[in-house]
Amino acid sequence: MGPPSRDAWAQRLGAFRTSPAAFLAGAEGEHLGRDLLSDLRSEKLSEPTKVSLLALSLEYPAQLWPDAPAAEAAATSLLDTLVLLPPRPSALRRPLLLATTTVLVAGGALGPSSGASGRLLPLLLGLASGRDVGRSFGPASEQRPLQATACECLRELESCQPGLLGGSLGPLRSLLGQGGPVQPLSLLLALTLRHTLLVRGRSGAGLRSLLLAGVSSGGSAWDWTLAKGDVHLQPQAPCWPTAEGEQGPAEGEPSSEDTQELRATVAQLLDASYLLTPVAQAQLLWLLGWALRGLRTQPPVLFKPQLVRLLGTAQLALLHSILALKAAFGEALFTAQDEALLLRRLTLAAQHPSLPQPTHLFYLHCILTFPENWPLGPEGEEAAPLLLGPQLCRSLMPSLLHEPMALLARLHLLCLCCAEDEDEEKGRVQSPQQYLEELLAGLRQRAALEGGPRALAILCFQASYLVASCLAKQLTVVTPLIHGLAQLYQARPVLAPHFVDLLDQLGPELREPLRQVLRQEVVSRPVRDEALRWHLHMLAKVAGGDAQNATLSFLQAAAAHCTDWGLQQALLGVCRVLLQTSGGAGLADLLQVLARQLEDPDGRDHARLYYILLAHLAGPKLGMALGPSLAVPALASSLVAENQGFTATLMVQETPAPIQLSLGPQRAKGPFPVLQLQVETLEPVYSLELRFHVEGQLYGPLEAIHVPCLCPGRPTHPLSLSLQPRCPAPAQLDVQALYTTPAGLTCHACLPPLAVSFADLFLPFPQAPKGAESNFFEELWDSCLPKGAESRVWCPLGPQSLETLVARHLGPFVVVAQPPTSYHIAVRLPPDSMLLLRLEMARGDGVPVALRTDDWAVLPLAGDYLRGLSAC
């Protein structure tokens, strides 16, 4: 298949440019990069077509050759193409150099290990120095433009890999002196100088030798040492804001030779700067400003001769670069008089009728963020410069005839001035405050124009917001502003969305008064208004608070005019807000009326629902029910959100338990066993009800326990749960908790079951009279038989003695004790059983226990209990 024709390429490139990602994902995308490289050498394609192919590789190298090996291969191919060009004039050499540079950098292939980099760099340096670089480099007429292009390529490489050309400072400098192309060489030298100072530490040690070095003998490999430092493109705050020595103090003072050489080079660059185009002059000043900032040995006075010339120009880039120098050097370069002059020129340029609007706006920004010699306020905050006296300020007053952005910028300045000299200005013919007031009134008047574009309304509200946020504390400004806005609403209710937005954005100290005024404004309007929709929209934002009666009567009157679904919903929306904020009897009446009167069944249903909610729920709970639901994403329709909100609030939520229950130490007393429960919680819990349930009919029904409030970390009294066993058996208690969260939600949780052990059921017999204990026990002992049972069990003692064992587990139940050898123990087991133990004659690791009970079913339990005692 031959190479595609010119038209085919044009089509292909067009398709690619429309959407590179889509094209590359398609069938044709795969081979685009390869085809492009091979067709560059095709003899059938014309030069303009080839230039357009190169233009593509200049713009999209990362898409065409995405990784470093592909980029390396592409760059090699481009270099080969360049070398193979016949030695006649060709339009391809420049774009080929540019493309190779771009491909290497964009693909991340530039580096010591890259063959293409190794070829390109010496070639560029050779071209830049005007040396003969071989036969393919065309006729002499092309040398000059190629020399400039090579400089540009080197500058780009140095920009992306700082330090790359550090070794070539000397040759570049001597080239500039010998009449090489001034602009490209100056910029390249300035950039390299800046990077070298950065790489070598701020001292610039050894700079002299670099600046004086001659052209290295050809053939040696490129010196990458300076390019490998860790400064490689560190994000840096270039030379803003004013903070001399921000990058730390100079690392040692440079030698005087270095200083001298550096100064000579900078002076050489600045002297020739007049020959550069204005934008390039500006770049040079930025670069040198960056380079010399923080160098104590380099007084910035070198820049001074340029300043007077530059201050007179109308050129944006030049004035901007002067501001950069101002920020970098401050007082060292600009005396107070200079600062005043600069500010004056800036003020002048910010309003000069011959300059375009974007320039005015930028200068206004520069005034608001003017780099002062002695700034007062915090950095980064917009402020009026100190030297901007009332006269300069007056010349920048906003007027209704300004474009919106210019008006806002000037208005901001005016606000800052008003904020500053609140007192000084009194007694003038027209104080800035008065002017401000009139301006805002004018803006409102324009926004109120029937059929006016929305842009005017936006501007009016932006201006109001700006003034309100700058001058919130100045009542003389804010009060008329608020009343003016109310009048604007009166004139054009269709602006309601803007008012709602403004209320959302304003600080609380202004929001409340504005809300109040707007509410009064709305409720005093006739309801037969075409703008009823907007009134309701507005009320939904401003309703609530005092004077609800007026709101309610407005709504009541409005109900008759709410004929369509949308209006009814808006009306109900306001009711909803009232429900949330205040409620009250009047609202209940209104809702009842609505529930009967509204035409739309949906509206009636809603009104009824709201009424029921109002009648049955306490304020906080109602607030929760109607508040924004967390369960629903914000974008869901209000109806869905509403329903979800109700579900969440009015129904009991199943949650994992935030409560832990545990059994405390037993208190064997009273007619029934009582469990001591310790309760802990992870979050505040209110109105807690603990419900217990036991499987089967082992115990009688258990009463629920109520706790009014539980807080994490706060000690609680143990809770008592009395058991009414129907037979003396251990059991599992299922526990459920029902409680309210601080947010008002009612939750239900199942807690882990509680185990009631056999010993938990033990109760002592009433104390026998003194001296009769033994008889009492013997009587009990005898009474067990014959209907009961008798047994003997070995009770291991473990490491403890019999005395300790008894004291620990059976203390309350001992009837007769002859420590340490013999204990007679009687345990009452509700409802009506007993367990009698004789522990006698302990032998080393255990004690034989004779036991009797009147309930044979207790035997196995008693046996297990005794055998397990030593382990407890």
């Binding site: 433009p145 500058r155 920009s159 934008v279 007179g312 944006l316 004056r344 324009r446």
Partner: protein, 434 residues
């Protein structure tokens, strides 16, 4: 100081989506740096389609966006410069320099050599002024002397090659694109050392210097006792020097006529080599007093080859050259208007041409016109909603002329008719051209 990308977007009202990208250019090496400098706050350059949509939305130029949209229209979203923050696929592209001029949006994104969060102040970003200069340069190139769409298309097609000269890697070398074009032509001429970069070659031939001074008067006349009328003259001195040598030195000296008002707010071309401090400080901010510097105004400079604006100034003349009276009454569907113009006796009654333009904004096209003029003739541009009153080369002897008439407008379709955010209802102006 480099640009990451640039776009030219033609605003085309009424055709969805409201515009097309006429030119775009990306600079991948700069993008590479942006990725490193911006770090985590880096937002990649979008493709043309999404960028176009976001830009038109921001400029309120999409066809379907007349309603309040909080993300764009909120009162707290105050933009005071031509630098925008464009929401794109969940991220925000910033800073986007953009402005609309002659139906074309010029946009570029400068490299910010640090992190973008928090956003640094614009004044600290060198690429902002460079980007604006680039866009102004493109605008000058596209529209200087250009009259129709074919010419515009030709110039647009020349842009890629020109930018390859003037801005090969995203760093602007010369904002004067015409210069880059000439540079290519001059390539064969052997350039001399110390050749200024803003001068493509040297002139050979008869030495001559052309100078023209254009002055525009902006005046607001209230016809009220208690409100003072205002007027301001804005002047431009255009210069073309055909002189031999690489760096010929020229000094131009401007003197005021007898009783002439002093020049103020003087801004000069960068080729001016030095300025008197009296010129630097003469400013309208101070108002007028007798101590104001009244010249002669000396401008030493080395001229470039092409015609250039040597300086701009303003001045405050004692009386406006033409006194006007403009009255407009809205009566249902039609407007009744009266315009009276009176030439001041101090002005020489002799013009190349003299016209009064009476534009109508924010209305439909003109459907009907009845009028009477005391002098000259009236042309109607119905589609443009514009009346042009051609007065000719002289006012009549009385120095006073008048126009009265009624205008009827068709229904308003905002996309086609001239839009202005000030001239609403009966707010309007008259523009005299001569």
């Amino acid at each position: 100081m480099a640009q990451r990308a640039l776009w030219l977007v033609r605003h085309e009202p009424g055709t969805p989506p409201g515009g097309t990208v006429r030119f775009s250019r990306r600079f991948p090496t700069v993008e590479k740096r942006a990725k490193v400098f911006n770090g985590a706050s880096y937002v990649p350059i979008p493709e043309d389609g999404p960028f176009l949509k976001a830009l038109l939305f921001e400029f309120r130029l999409l066809d379907d966006d007349k309603d309040f949209v909080e993300s764009r229209d909120s009162c707290s979203r105050i933009n005071k410069t031509s630098i925008y923050r464009l929401p794109l696929g969940g991220q925000e592209l910033w800073p986007v320099i953009a402005f609309l001029r002659n139906g074309m949006i010029y946009a570029s994104i400068p490299l910010v050599e640090q992190t973008l969060s928090p956003p640094p102040p614009l004044i600290s970003i060198s690429g902002i002024s460079q980007g604006l200069e680039l866009l102004f340069g493109i605008q000058d190139f596209l529209f200087s002397g250009q009259k129709n769409d074919t010419e515009l298309n030709t110039r647009l097609s020349q842009l890629p090659d020109l930018l390859l000269q003037a801005c090969p890697f995203g760093t602007l070398l010369d904002a004067n694109l015409q210069n880059s074009m000439d540079n290519t032509d001059f390539a064969s001429v052997t350039q001399l050392p110390k050749q200024p970069a803003w001068k493509a070659g040297t002139y050979k031939g008869k030495p001559q210097v052309f100078i023209s001074i254009t002055e525009k008067v902006k005046s607001m006349q209230y016809d009220k006792q208690d409100v003072a009328d205002t007027w301001q003259v804005v002047g431009t001195v255009v210069c073309k020097c055909d002189l031999e040598g690489i760096m010929p030195n020229v000094t131009m000296s401007l003197s005021l006529p007898t009783n002439g008002s002093p020049l103020q707010d003087i801004l000069v071309h960068p080729c001016v080599t030095s300025l008197d401090s009296a010129i630097l400080t003469a400013s309208s901010i101070d108002g007028m007093d007798d101590s104001a510097f009244s010249g002669p105004y000396k401008f030493p400079f080395t001229p470039p080859l092409e015609s250039f604006n040597l300086c701009y100034y303003t001045s405050q003349v004692p009386v406006p050259p033409i006194l006007g009276f403009y009255q407009m009454k809205e009566e249902e569907v039609q407007l009744k208007l009266t315009v009276n113009l009176k030439l001041h006796e101090s002005v020489k009654n002799n013009f190349e041409f003299c016209e009064a333009h009476i534009p109508f904004y924010n209305r439909g096209s003109i459907t009907h016109l009845e009028y009477k003029v005391s002098f000259g003739q009236l042309d109607v541009f119905r589609e443009k909603s514009l009346l042009v009153w051609t007065i000719g080369q002289k006012f009549p002897k009385s120095m006073e002329i008048s126009l009265s008439g009624t205008v009827t407008f068709g229904s308003k379709s905002r996309d086609k008719q001239p839009f202005d955010h000030i001239c609403i209802g009966t707010t309007a102006y008259v523009k005299d051209e001569n």
